[in-house]
Subunit: 350 residues, 2 copies
């Protein structure tokens, strides 16, 4: 997707500045060159041209949404994406989960001294590409540099502003017994793609991250006039954590059937190898939608018409009890509670 940008040469002269230096964050000549030549080139839009402390814009609507995410994924590049694409998709997806069309992003960088300039350019170019693909403008930014050993290449925090153009209350509190639970596609690919890219793991895989913008899928549900009660993307903690959290926050039971949940064979195999449960593995392009049961078939039809949610399936339903709990019904008929993890499963997956 971002391959075309990657082939453009790094606009900072590599021979002169092969690596990020402390002075690139110092507010002087080097920082200005970094902003002008790299970030403005990668993100190009009229807001950045104003060269001001922030971006001023007409409000995109009467009801807005805002959100933020920090990204510390390791390694920076993995099959199907990198920290830059993730930093765009992660925040536009959080806006989409509020039912908001993503409009503007901001980006703050914490760079480690010694980061290859070429690496930073690949990340910035990928962010610019991902932003254009998602229909958002990166309108304001900031760059800080920390000493070697005080960071890990690059950390990025993005924040987003979106516009809510419907009258639904899309939130955990709107989930109620009788709702159908719809999953937008197969799970576990992002987490396994990132793990597979870690040399220390010593397992090779061809699994690509599902990292993608989810707004087109949400937009299609809203345009179809469906009464969406809640949306949640399945990032850290995966499907299981999303179900457990929403059940707790909504005070309902969420029952899902294991056999209906799509997990690709290679993903399932890699999970088994590493002793991981795919239900808890992070995704960056998957979400669950809660809609009234009467609208489930239509919701599936609509989602399947959008590439990012072509694999949508109904995986369960909301029930009144056991209140506050998510329950997995296994293929052999047994039940188990999907609880929040007590420890850490996959550090620095996003």
């Amino acid at each position: 997707m971002a391959d075309q940008s990657f082939s453009l040469a790094c606009p900072i002269p590599i021979a002169e500045y092969p690596e990020v230096q402390m002075a690139h964050g110092g507010g002087g000549r080097l920082m200005r060159a970094l902003i002008e030549k790299m970030f403005m080139a990668a993100f190009r839009n009229p807001f950045l041209e104003a060269r001001h402390d922030g971006a001023v814009f007409p409000s995109p609507g009467k009801t807005l949404a805002t959100t933020t995410d920090a990204f510390v994924v390791r390694p920076l590049f993995f099959p199907g994406g990198n920290i830059g694409t993730l930093a765009v998709h992660g925040t536009v997806n959080d806006l989409a989960m509020c039912g908001a069309r993503p409009v503007y992003l901001t980006a703050a960088f914490v760079l480690e001294e010694g980061l290859p300039m070429e690496t930073l350019w690949r990340v910035a170019a990928a962010m610019g590409e991902a932003a254009r693909e998602a229909g958002v403008a990166i309108v304001s930014g900031d760059t800080k540099v920390v000493e070697r050993g005080k960071g890990d290449g690059v950390y990025i925090a993005t924040a987003g502003v979106g516009v809510v153009e419907h009258r639904l209350d899309i939130a955990p509190r709107a989930v109620r017994p009788g709702d159908a639970v719809i999953l937008s596609g197969d799970i576990g690919r992002h987490g396994m793609a990132v793990l597979g890219a870690r040399e220390s793991l010593g397992f090779e895989s061809s699994i690509e991250s599902d990292c993608a913008p989810l707004w087109p899928a949400v937009d299609s549900l809203l345009r179809a006039g469906l009464e969406v009660h809640c949306l949640r993307d399945l990032t850290r903690g995966g499907l299981a954590t999303a179900a457990a959290e929403i059940a707790a926050d909504a005070g309902v039971a969420i029952r899902v059937a294991e056999r209906t949940i799509p997990v690709r064979e290679d993903v399932g195999g890699a999970c088994e190898l590493l002793g991981l449960d795919p239900l808890y593995v992070a995704n960056e392009g998957r979400f669950v939608a809660f809609v009234p049961r009467s609208q489930a078939a239509r919701a599936l039809e609509v989602l399947r018409g959008v590439p990012v949610s072509a694999g949508a399936v109904e995986i369960g339903a909301v029930a009144p009890a056991p209140q506050g709990m998510a329950v997995l019904e296994s293929a052999i008929g047994s039940e188990r509670v999907l609880d929040l993890l007590s420890g850490e499963q996959l550090p620095r997956i996003c």
Copy 2:
């Protein structure tokens, strides 16, 4: 200022979790406890109660502003503030410099494994306090944890949404020959306060950071109906860099008189000791305003009526030439160009 919050006990049981662990960023039980008990307690507002991926709110006006900043200041605590107060003031000040009233903030944390939980609480409590003081709500957040040696305690990225309630174009492009340059108070205190707090420097000082929200000062200028052309807070690179950048971006000359620029005696002395030029030292509660010369006296009067800008002075004027340059007229009548720094003066000052 934040002393009252600091005296409240850390809401995470220190005996059980004395330090931040990798699992506090893992999406499981510990992360949820951190968010619920610490951040929601420190930032308390109805948006966080929705427990959703983002915050939904009515647009605060027809014209909005957004901005972001990352904060990596070292050490985390210094006389007059800490990374938490800085993370709030830095972003609300960037909004104020767009002539926007700050309304909402988001906050993304990158925590280093091993950070004392008590330290995180002091930072979060200070942020909550600073936000309330500045009249903004921290409506959405994110927490990531990186391994020991991959961070430095805590990095924070904040983003802000503000509302523009005037019809002025406040930006470098609006600066023109004939404008007066007004400085809101004495310079150099933030940078010297942070440096003084670094043990490695071995100099003791009682200099307190000027870290403060600037919106009340900007608001007073706008309410007085003054035709503000540009505003710029004097952070990294200080007054000299702000003048050089605006001169370059506006294509004008900015001439300032050295003898009019207030530098406290202890600040000047510390700068001399360390071989620093106070004109390049960072401030976190100072700004310059460009207004038509005919309105300079009134602007000064208005600014002096607001505590944060009580020390406002006129320091110079905008001229047509030398185009794109900022020039300092010294006390003895010589002139020198204020250029962007080529190297790094003060790393990790904000």
